[in-house]
């Protein structure tokens, strides 16, 4: 029985935490929210220098070839700071997809580019990844996808496409003038998503045929697991913020955290996040060493971590009272982000269906 990060991994977490606290304080997220930008490139670059974009990349791509655990740990620390970086589009979707593809020069080049700080994105229909509006003909892509995470800042575009016969492909393109991206206005503008329109965009083939569905499914499950870790960190951070305030603020002659109305609420939040935590760890284990459990574990991780994040983000505001509702306090950063996380990879109902299908099929998925 060994259900805990190893000593090395825990030490790695401490390092990443120190790094993220220094490089990406909440003030940077707030600054992005106040600006017209959707991400902070200086944070992304220092992360590259730290090697985070290279954690899971194989050595031939300049990476460290580490397993899932270290990236999961990094995602948690990214979440703790609500870091305004393209983690979802690039690290959880594009990079994870590349890692699912057979090694090839095309793939390895893309991984190397990401390792060097380029931003990738995945052009896929998130709500129904069996379908796509991108057409492939003569190695050229044409079509529009209305919602692509981090598209506007992306240098690499991995696309799910079909040819006129309905055969599927996963392709790689580098940004050029044949593509148009438009940044979307989001409920949480410290995140980034865009509309991608391709017109005769040259494409390199990463995979084709029935493999594509399997690759996409695994990739989306991995993305869900990594996003769950990000939420875990964000929820922990919001709970710490609420606990700190509840330990300082007085009303009616008492510190408010001494009232059971506040205390029990924060314990409920703690309980939800501890439950999410073990499911995230289990999902990391599945991602690292038990592919058959990934589908069930990913759904469980994202359902439980979204529930915790949504609850804690709201009760953090509530604990702060009127102050919590001001722009000046950071509470609203967590509130907005909680909604973003809740639907970014499809709403809960999608994952509930995936989980119940797995449970009914018992151990077969």
């Amino acid at each position: 029985m060994n259900f805990e990060f190893s000593e090395d991994q825990l030490q790695f977490r401490q390092e990443i935490r120190r790094f993220m606290v220094n490089e990406a304080p909440l003030s940077k997220t707030r600054a992005i929210l106040e600006s017209s930008e959707h991400l902070d490139r200086t944070v992304w670059q220092s992360m590259q220098a730290m090697g985070i974009q290279n954690i899971m990349s194989p050595e031939q791509c300049g990476g460290f070839g580490l397993g899932a655990y270290e990236l999961c740990i990094s995602a948690e620390e990214i979440g703790r700071q609500l870091a305004p970086i393209p983690s979802l589009g690039c690290l959880y979707l594009a990079q994870q997809l590349l890692l699912q593809c057979e090694p090839s020069n095309i793939r390895d080049d893309a991984l190397s580019k990401i390792g060097e700080g380029s931003i990738g994105c995945l052009v896929v229909n998130i709500d129904d990844h069996a379908s796509t509006d991108i057409q492939l003909a003569d190695n050229m892509l044409t079509g529009t996808n209305e919602l692509v995470h981090n598209a506007n800042e992306a240098d690499l575009f991995i696309c799910h496409a079909k040819d006129s016969q309905g055969n599927q492909y996963i392709t790689l393109s580098y940004r050029d003038t044949s593509m148009n991206t438009r940044a979307l206005s989001l409920l949480d503008n410290s995140c980034s998503a865009g509309t991608v329109t391709l017109t005769q965009t040259p494409a390199l083939i990463l995979a084709s045929g029935d493999d594509c569905n399997k690759i996409l499914e695994r990739c989306l499950n991995h993305a869900a697991i990594l996003l769950s870790f990000e939420q875990l960190g964000a929820a922990d951070s919001a709970l710490e913020m609420a606990t700190r305030y509840a330990s300082e603020r007085s009303a009616f002659g008492r510190i408010i955290g001494s009232y059971q109305g506040i205390k029990h609420k924060l314990v409920d939040a703690y309980t939800l996040n501890q439950l999410a935590r073990v499911h995230c760890y289990y999902a990391a284990w599945a991602m690292a060493s038990s592919p058959d459990d990934v589908s069930k574990a990913a759904a469980t991780a994202i359902i439980s971590s979204s529930k915790a994040m949504s609850f804690i983000a709201k009760e953090n505001i509530q604990t702060h009272g009127g102050m919590g509702y001001t722009w000046e306090m950071d509470c609203h950063l967590f509130l907005k982000r909680s909604r973003h996380y809740a639907v970014a990879l499809g709403p809960e109902t999608h994952w509930q269906q995936q989980l119940s299908s797995c449970l009914l099929a018992h151990s077969t998925c």
Partner: protein
């Protein structure tokens, strides 16, 4: 039981509808009046209040002698129901006409009433209420803003301190301010109320930016502000009673919490999506929203029935705010979830119909706090309705000064 107007109510409703039809334009479906700025909204609201006042609809329940209609609370509700069908600005006069002026009517002098009631009713003068402070939110008894007798021979007071969460202070002509005049009394004693011209030197107003980016509320700083004694409202040391008069008036105002067609919109939205129609977990969420929204409407109907019979509405309305906030939040999040991953887009992408969803979603978090947090409401209901004992009072028998020095 029935949900119909009595004959008298029906006559009044017709009267309101006819007047509204000639003075305002009806809402088209789903329309929701928006303004480019808060200042524009305030101007529009002033103008609409002036029109109403000029035609006897400015304050339905006020006596005719004061320019009101001498009507019943039910008539007030009927007017609001009919008014809601028209494209008129949301009122910014609830604090002025529903709280401050009613308190002035009870505690102010004849001269004060003669000077201030009419301009407020006509929308010329907007009032704000300066109560909460950074360290006195839920616990208003802990306000620190002090008023000291002038020692330079003037018959007046010097007010210094900071207020917070004052709605529309940046647009108001006047404000009613609760101050501490004697810190050596218990916390609810030793307070005194004044009204002030918001342009008085030494008053500094800073809008507070909210989580949703709007700026309805303000911090108001009193930097040694001179106020003549004739602007005192009620006796010295009687400030809490003046404040309670204002707050009690608020308690009687019922309704208008949830958009009436909340669940119908949701049902239509679900019906247009094959997946959602066949997902009973989504349908159960619709059901719960219906149960809460329709339940709130029914609670309000019970309250109105009591009002119509000249009784106090039942205590169950106290919990309405808690249910309403949760229902709004659940509604907005289900609407977003139904959009799939596009639920993360803002109204700028979804189109103007989405602005309401976004506003309600942010608003829900605010409703849980404003006018008494969920926790305070539950304490009140537990103690006043269920009769459970209060928390031990740690401040019993202590003066304000002793409490602050802790």
């Amino acid at each position: 039981m029935d949900f119909k107007d009595t004959p008298e109510e029906a006559i009044f409703r017709t009267e309101c509808a006819q007047w509204l039809a000639t003075h305002a334009t009806p809402k088209s479906a789903g329309q929701h009046q928006t303004f480019d700025s808060l200042a524009e909204r305030i101007s529009a609201s002033r103008a609409w209040q002036a029109t109403k006042a000029a035609n006897g609809f400015g304050a339905i329940t006020w006596p005719k002698a004061l320019g009101g209609r001498g009507g019943s609370p039910i008539q007030e509700v009927i007017f609001r129901e009919e008014e809601a069908k028209y494209n008129v600005p949301a009122s910014v006069f609830n604090v002025s006409l529903g709280m401050v002026i009613p308190s002035l009517l009870v505690h102010g002098s004849d001269e004060v009433r003669a000077r201030y009631v009419a301009p407020a009713l006509q929308g010329k003068e907007l009032w704000c209420q300066l109560l909460s402070e950074p360290n006195a939110g839920s616990d208003l008894g802990m306000i620190r803003t002090q008023a000291k007798r002038c020692e330079d021979g003037r018959d007046g007071w010097i007010i210094s301190g900071q207020k917070v969460w004052t709605s529309f202070a940046q647009f108001a002509e006047f404000g009613m301010v609760l101050t501490r005049t004697d810190p050596d009394q218990a916390k609810f004693a030793g307070m005194t109320s004044f009204f002030v011209d918001m342009q008085t030197p030494g008053i500094e107003i800073r809008p507070i930016r909210q989580a949703n980016g709007q700026e309805e509320f303000n911090e108001v700083f009193f930097n040694d502000v001179y106020v003549p004694d004739e602007q005192r409202v009620g006796d010295i040391g009687n400030g809490w009673r003046v404040t309670m008069t204002a707050l009690m008036n608020e308690r009687l105002s019922i309704g208008g919490v949830l958009p009436a067609d909340l669940w119908q919109k949701l049902a239509r939205n679900i019906q247009s999506q094959h997946r959602a129609v066949n997902d009973q977990s989504i349908l159960n969420r619709l059901n719960e929203i219906y149960i809460h929204a329709h339940g709130l409407w029914l609670m309000q109907c019970r309250g109105l029935t009591a009002l119509g019979q000249g009784k106090e509405p039942g205590p169950e309305l106290s919990v309405a705010k808690i249910i309403a906030a949760k229902t709004l939040s659940d509604y907005c999040e289900l609407m977003m979830d139904l959009e799939g991953s596009k639920g993360l887009l803002s109204a700028a992408e979804h189109g103007s119909h989405w602005q309401l969803i976004e506003d309600l979603w942010y608003g829900a978090a605010g409703i849980r706090i404003a006018g008494g947090t969920d926790e305070i409401v539950k304490n009140n209901v537990g103690e006043r309705v269920l009769g459970l004992p209060p928390e031990p009072r740690l401040d019993k028998g202590k003066t304000f000064r002793e409490l602050v020095s802790n």
